[in-house]
Structures are given as C-alpha cells and as structure tokens.
Symmetry: C2
Subunit: 363 residues, 2 copies
Amino acid sequence: MTQRAPAAIGDRLEDVDTPALLLDLDAFERNQKTLFDLVKNRVRVRPHAKTHKCAEVAKRQIALGAVGMCCQKVSEAEAMVDGGVADVLVSNEIVGARKIERLAALARRAKVGVCVDHPDNVRELGKTGANLDVYIEIDVGMRRCGVPPGEPAVLLAKEIQKHANLRFAGLQAYHGRAQHIRSMEERHGVIETAAQHVFHTKRLLQKAGIACPIVTGAGSGTFMLEVGAGAWDEIQPGSYAFMDADYARNEWAAPLPRFEHALFVLATVMSRPAGMAIVDAGLKASSVDSGMPGVWEMPGVSYTKASDEHGWLEGKALPALGEKVLLVPGHCDPTINLYDWYVCVRNRRVEDLWPISARGAVY
Amino acid sequence: MTQRAPAAIGDRLEDVDTPALLLDLDAFERNQKTLFDLVKNRVRVRPHAKTHKCAEVAKRQIALGAVGMCCQKVSEAEAMVDGGVADVLVSNEIVGARKIERLAALARRAKVGVCVDHPDNVRELGKTGANLDVYIEIDVGMRRCGVPPGEPAVLLAKEIQKHANLRFAGLQAYHGRAQHIRSMEERHGVIETAAQHVFHTKRLLQKAGIACPIVTGAGSGTFMLEVGAGAWDEIQPGSYAFMDADYARNEWAAPLPRFEHALFVLATVMSRPAGMAIVDAGLKASSVDSGMPGVWEMPGVSYTKASDEHGWLEGKALPALGEKVLLVPGHCDPTINLYDWYVCVRNRRVEDLWPISARGAVY
C-alpha cells in the first residue's frame, strides 16, 4: 500500500514525477543549524515528530543534540522507536485500553514519556506496571487538553506518586494557538502569561515537596520566547525545519530567527484553459486547512482554489503546459502526512529518498 | 510504512482503536443497490476510484454491473489494475514524460482510457504506440480542464485520428462544481446547460463524420439529472457509496435518491476540560476542506475546531472521558485518502478490513 517514490536517487529535479514532496536539503540543514545553535546550553531540544513523521529526520536532529522525539500518538512513537529513536515523549493524553497496552509495550523497549490531565487516566497507566515518565499537561491558555495551572496539577502529581511504575517527570506546557499569532508583541504577551502559569504551578509543587524535573513545551513560532521567559527546560519545535505558508505569515523578529522554506510540493501544469493554469496537485497533495499553497518564485501567480486532484493558478505570466511549479504548502504537518516519501534535493538533483514511516500513524 | 489496522476481524466496535475509518456495511450495500438499481438499462456506471481508493470496493461495484473504474491519476489506475480491475478510465489529462510512460505500460496489461484537452498532449500519447481510448474533455461549465465545447473538440478529435494507436472514444463532460450546488433547481439548470454543450459538440462531430461512442461524466450530486438529460452514456459517481457532511447539506429530491451515511471516523474523548470534550481525531483524521466533521447521533454536540491531532466537541450533554464518538467526515475523498484501512462493521462487529491500496496514489 506504500506508493512507489516519484523519483530515483540521482534524478534531475525536472524529471521528478508529480506531485512530489520535495525537501531542499541545503535549506533544511541551515534551519537545523539555526535552531540548535541558538538554544545550545540554554534548553534541551525534543523536536516534534508529528511534523516530520520520519526516522531519517529524527536521526539528524538527534545527531545535532536532540534528547529524543516528541510524538502525538502511540503509533507515531512506535514508528520512531522502530526507526532507532531510544527516547520518546508522547506529548498527549493516551486514553483507551488498547492504546495504553501499546504504550506499555513500547515502554519495555524505549524510554517513554506520556502526558496526563485526569486521575482516571493516571490509574489506567498505573495498572500497566510499565515504567513511564508521566508529565502533567497544564493548560497555559490554549484551551485544549490539560488541567488548569496550580493546585489541580499538584493533586494530579500526588496521584502519580501513588503508582510505583510511574515517575512524575514534570509539566507539559504548550501553547499551540500562540504559534500562529501574527504579531510578535501579542505572541510575547501570551507566552509571558503562560510562563506565569508555569512558575505558579512549580511553586505549589515545591511547597508540596514534589520535585518537577522538566518543563517541556514551545513550538517553532514561539520557542525563543519560552527560552527567554526561563520557565521551560525543553522545547518541542517541529515546523522550523520545513516552514510553510502559514508560518511565513507570522511576524518574525528577534529573538526568533527567520527559518527558510525547505519544503515544497512539486506540481506540473496539466491544462491551460484561457486565463488559468491547472496543476496536478490539489487537496490530496497539499492540506488547505491553513489556506492555499503559495507559488514559489513566480511573482504575480497565485494558487486560488483546490479540488481533490487539481489546483488553479491564476495571475500574470502563467506557466506553460507541462511546466513544473514549486508550491509552498499552507500547513506543513498535514501535508507531509499525505506522502510516503521525501524527495531530498540538492543542486537540482535527487540526493536521497526518505520514507515517511509514521505517515498515517494517527492512532 | 503502511500502518497496522486499528482492529482485527471479529472485534467488537467498542474495541476498535481510534481514530479509525469505519464503513457501515449495511448502509454501504444499500447505497450500492440504490444507485445500480436506479440507472440499470439507462446508462453505464463507471464509479470513481478517486473516492474509495480500494480494489475491494471496486470489485463489489463491478459485481453490481460497473463497466470498470474511473481514476484521476496513473498511480491510482495502477493500483486498481493491480487489484484486478481490467478496465480503467483516467478521467483526467496526463501530462509529463514519466506519467505517460507509465500510462502506456499500463495499457499493455488493461483496457485504459485517458482524457485530453490539448493537441501537444495527444501527440505525446501518440508517440507511445500504446493502444489508448482517448476521450476529449470539454468544459461544460466547471472552468477547470477541458476544451470549450463545439469546434475545438472537433479539431482535437481530428488530431487523435492521426495516430493509429489512439482511438477517439468519446467525450468527458463532468461538472464537478455542480455536485455541491445546494439547490436542486439550480443544479438542474447547470446540468441542462452542460447537456446543451454536449449535444452541440456531438452534432459538430457527426457533421465532421466522426463517431462519438461514449459521453461520460456526472457525479453523486447530479447523476440522475445527467441520466434525465439524455446526453450521457456513462456516469462516474464515487461519493454515493459513502456520503459525507458536505453532500448531506445538498437538497436531495427526486429524481436523485437519498443516500445514507456509511462512512465514519471513530474517535475517543481523550480529555474533558470544563465545557469541552477533546477527541483524538483532528486534521490528520478527517479532512476539513469542506468544513468540520459532523457528530453522529449526538444532538446538541458540535465538532467546532480541529488541530492536527485533536478535535473540539462543544455543546450540551458532552460525551465522557474515554467515550467513543462517530464523526461524519466533511469530505469523504480526502478523508479516505488519510487511511490505510476501512474497518468494515456490521451489527457492531468488525466483519472485514479492506486495504486502501491507492491511498496516497497522487502521481
């Protein structure tokens, strides 16, 4: 069921079949270096595999100093461990008997962390007997999962301490919505508030005599704000290595670096009706949840609409029939999850093909 | 890289891991019967594999009388032929040397049709020497691919006739946009106009002495209008077997039947912060290009927002932590394309698991 790769190593870029998910290796490597250099000796980096879904990317992040991977799903964590990652944190609540069984099985062959926000869930994890690092997720303003900061976290930590196989490993404090707030000033304010929630919770834990080894969180759109706030020990960025059209709409300024677009969908113009160029990449080639893809280095041309397998390019100086076009996905994570392969390109040649081994690992 | 199935045959519905793509076999079979009974002896049915991506579904459609499958991509057609389908029409323009090579190779092991809308493309297909049924796509109002109706189609048919390996097989006349027009009356008007374009083009072809064996087109939202208009010989519905929240928003009235929801995403409530239930199915579990998923048989509860791996349920009488919820995808085609398996359920038991063998077949 895995699709064949749309290219072979050594192929010229112009011969890659389309649509294809391209990774510009030079830009990708520069993004990696930018991030790891910036935070060196300040926080641990545990990049998020929910973005890349690929053990080859994970290996390269670990080589640069990452302590392990974050995952959102047990199946994603399994794919990372299968690919050689020894330390995974499922930065998410795992609810349901079968999932918990799989998580426990994984903990017998790797260092596994998991998040909780409910005492019933803690008890289910306790029953497995598996050694797990348990992080309490606190809601620092995103309004998704997590207990409210402060006392509820202390109560939950006490519940964790009742189970010999569970180790209270710290707090998960991630503000997902903040990543996509356009203004730097507003993002800064939101992360400052999040930091206050973390500090408050840590103070109460300390008062209760409970050590809080690690506070983990942060994403590509805010991580230097978390680093600056001093409340986090570990960051979880994922998109920084790839970028997308939505992140590009953020204001990027110090202390955040400017990452480069390293991820593209290569498409072909398959029809040229009057006033339009129709490309062979639609909804199944680039997720449109955060808007249409951008058109790379083709000023005046916009991707205006998508159907399942088609995209509409409109504007001035439209590309010709058969011409290839680079699209910048609106949102990198769900776009990568559509593909089986990264076609890794350098100097207009296919240098490598990386399997997206956790593609579809949703459960 | 193919993910394990989230269930085993014989499992109870409540034990299926989540998110999972569920197919309600009773509803699916009733939808199949409804469609094939309605159009029997009136038009040929060539269902669209772009929706189901699954040779098991194709086999069942062929058993009911389908003449073969429609596909949108060469890789999709390859997956169908690999799965035992002997007759495929790529209802799309195939542009690019590698794609055309693969199409030609496929034509040596199955009956293969393809659409064209440009003489350069016809010449490229001619050069392959492969026996291909070539359909001219005419734009009947959708404004996507296709030549304008009338004389341009005649000119293109003459170009096809120059190539001994190419057989002019007829017209592709599909109005995709019409499928989702809410009002029956408006949909009817649009298809009537499309029919006039077809009749006009057929008259000009006849005048030029060119036989037009088949006019093919139509989708789940309009097919009985095409049947009634009398200009089509073959219909290409895909969604009818599954349905989705977007199609459910259409007005459904005679001559169109009412199809049932047969496709669901099974999700689990993984967190219960105040006023919300967070489920484990987000953007990677249900495509939101046509809106958020519906919540099945849970009145007063809405799925209001999605992030990559999470969905927000809000409303009255929210489900409890660990409770399972059935979601109705906003758009079936790109949602099915996220999964490796249909979990086929009857009487709350997993009766079968069908591999989605053309999942990710985008090129």
